[in-house]
């Protein structure tokens, strides 16, 4: 971390400090992560139009084919092209995880602002709620809810969003507590601003960096959770290409030597989470030290 600390300080002495997003964009880790992320976003949006085969079409005469020139990643137990399924499979995970994270971030930020600025009994109650949620890995809590109400994209988004909200609220709350000590908050009150106005127009802009970091970090966790749920058999739609569900459907035949059916979707998940973490780590380092 020391190397990162040095860079902005050196810049400050020359009097030409770069804006934070320029500092972020200069980091090689960010560029690599952003490129990986961009690739999967393009796949999620247009994957079906440039995939070499139709990801849904079964060729029952060409099942379990090893990787070849015609099928780069081979075919699965139903003869579907694994490469095409990997490309198209980006869609479901990149739809559910960001929406869930967004919901959690919006709710969590509002809650964190209220807790930090208004405080009181609600604050104590929510702290216990966060502790309780954190006592069990998020995946298990989500799992419990999904089993209880049935799997669907909306359920996954709502449940993950609601579980993230108190966790994000806690981080936002501590940032708000720091901001509330600063002079501009009582000044705004003295100028006659109402509490809500102070919260959303004065404090919120100043805790946005924290919120942004929280969003990217939680996005990584959301992808982890959505992929794991799909792997455990709680995918949203069994026919549509989904990395986790495809692994679940095919990992039984690794022993028969058909490794490509699970390995490639697994590597796709790995590349996506690593990409997001490179991005979030870069943002976090610049925001927290700069």
């Amino acid at each position: 971390m020391t190397d990162i600390l040095v860079a902005p300080v050196a810049k400050a002495t020359t009097g030409k400090e770069l804006p934070p997003w320029r500092l972020i964009a200069r980091r090689p880790a960010f560029i690599i992560g952003a490129l990986i992320l961009l690739f999967w976003i393009v796949c999620a949006l247009f994957g079906s139009s440039f995939a070499p085969h139709n990801a849904y079409v079964q060729q029952l005469l060409a099942t379990n084919q090893p990787p070849s020139a015609a099928h780069w990643f081979g075919t699965d137990q139903l003869g579907r092209d694994v490469f095409s399924r990997v490309l198209v499979g980006a869609r479901s995970i990149l739809l559910v995880a960001p929406l869930a994270t967004l919901l959690g971030t919006v709710l969590g930020t509002a809650l964190g602002l209220a807790l930090g600025y208004l405080g009181g009994a609600v604050d104590a109650l929510v702290s216990r709620l966060v502790d309780a949620v954190l006592a069990v890995p998020a995946v298990i809590i989500v799992f419990l809810f999904i089993v209880a109400v049935g799997a669907s994209a909306v359920t996954e988004i709502v449940v993950i969003g609601f579980i993230f909200a108190p966790i994000i609220a806690r981080t936002v709350r501590s940032a708000v507590l720091v901001e509330s000590q600063l002079d501009y908050v009582p000044s705004a009150r003295l100028l006659g601003e109402r509490r809500l106005q102070v919260m959303f127009t004065e404090i919120l802009p100043n805790v946005m960096p924290t919120v942004l970091v929280e969003f990217t970090v939680r996005l990584g966790y959301a992808i982890f959770a959505v992929a794991t749920l799909a792997f455990l058999g709680f995918g949203v739609d069994p026919a549509s290409p989904n990395w986790g569900s495809d692994i679940n459907a095919n990992y039984g035949v690794i022993g028969a030597g058909y490794w490509w059916e699970t390995l490639f979707p697994a590597l796709a998940i790995a590349s996506l989470v690593i990409g997001i973490n490179l991005v979030s780590d870069s943002i976090e380092r610049v925001v927290t030290t700069g």
Binding site: V136, F143, L144, G220, I247, I254, W259, L263
Partner: protein, 317 residues
């Protein structure tokens, strides 16, 4: 010190209570009609009502919660819907299996994590530090089943040197059990190496920059002695807390690993209960994981207080 620990204990009890309410609500209220869920859409309403009565789910919610929670406190975790027998003995047997897997994982994770963190700290900002930090971060964020698949493909399918299931069968020798547990342990090591290395790194850097480390260096002590005698003793204190917290998460993270490797631990038990809508088993399993986590965290506090003289003597702050 006693007051501090009592306060922690009190908070843990309250947290466990909140968790139990969340679990009860999810398991008993959200699924709607358990009788209907078990018997399916084509069963007659009379049969469903009858089963609901038998299961006790037609009583008022507060009564149900009270019965459930007082039972749990007395070690009675209810009756499994799918096996029609008591949950507690099955859960206990599974917990023992999971503890074996977790213990094996920890024996590898702790030394590797601490070593990685200390090496990174001693090379802070240089190549070894970046490699260790980035590897740890990436490995921690890749889901366990992804790294599990990769090791299965390489070691079980490709090289054929290790079995792809974790269950060594009844009466297997210690060596055989270890051999079967080796592959499942690798995803867990990936998952937790980064956290521990990160804490060990941060603690070591802080200690290296401290006044006492500088004094030790300036009075002419060799670097090796400064590090082993002055730096490490102080830097590993926060790491111990992190390890204890991770123990709780480790047990929780077993769901995926145990499902993938078909190992009969508490994770597979929860998964199995979820698939079969066996809510008493599921609720008991999740509550147990929460309790294990809270106990581990509490032990971390006790250990930390014991190891840190400033907390032990009861000095404020």
């Amino acid at each position: 010190m006693a007051r501090y620990l009592l306060k922690r204990l009190g908070l843990a009890v309250i947290t466990l209570f909140v968790l139990s309410v969340i679990i009860f609500f999810t398991g008993q209220v959200l699924p709607g009609d358990p009788g209907r869920a078990i018997l399916g859409p084509f069963a007659s309403q009379a049969a469903v009502t009858n089963l609901d009565h038998q299961l006790g789910v037609d009583r008022p919610l507060l009564t149900q919660y009270w019965t459930w929670i007082t039972g749990a406190l007395h070690g009675n975790l209810g009756t499994s819907y799918q096996y029609r027998s008591a949950v507690a003995p099955m859960l206990w047997a599974a917990l023992v299996n999971s503890a074996k897997l977790a213990a094996f994982a920890l024996i590898l994770i702790i030394p590797l994590g601490i070593l990685g963190g200390v090496i990174a700290a001693l090379n802070a900002g240089r190549a070894p530090d970046r490699v260790i930090s980035l590897t740890g971060l990436s490995a921690a964020t890749v889901p366990e089943f992804v790294s599990g698949i990769v090791v299965i493909v390489i070691f079980a399918d490709g090289l054929k040197v290790l079995p792809s299931t974790a269950d060594a069968g009844p009466g297997a020798s210690f060596d055989t059990q270890l051999r079967y547990l080796l592959l499942p342990v690798i995803p867990l090591v990936f998952e937790f190496f980064g956290y521990i290395a990160r804490m060990a790194r941060a603690g070591t850097i802080e200690a290296l920059e401290s006044d006492y480390a500088r004094t030790a260096t300036l009075k002419g002590l060799k670097r090796r002695i400064v590090i082993t005698r002055h730096v490490l003793r102080n830097s590993l204190l926060p790491t111990i807390t992190v390890i204890a917290t991770q123990v709780g998460y480790l047990i929780g993270g077993l769901v995926v690993v145990e499902t993938l490797f078909n190992y009969h631990g508490v994770g597979l038990l929860i998964y199995d209960a979820a698939i079969n809508k066996d809510f008493p088993m599921l609720e008991a399993g999740v509550l147990t994981i929460g309790a294990v986590y809270l106990i581990a965290t509490l032990l971390a506090d006790v250990l930390n207080t014991y190891l840190n003289p400033r907390l032990r003597t009861g000095a404020e702050q």
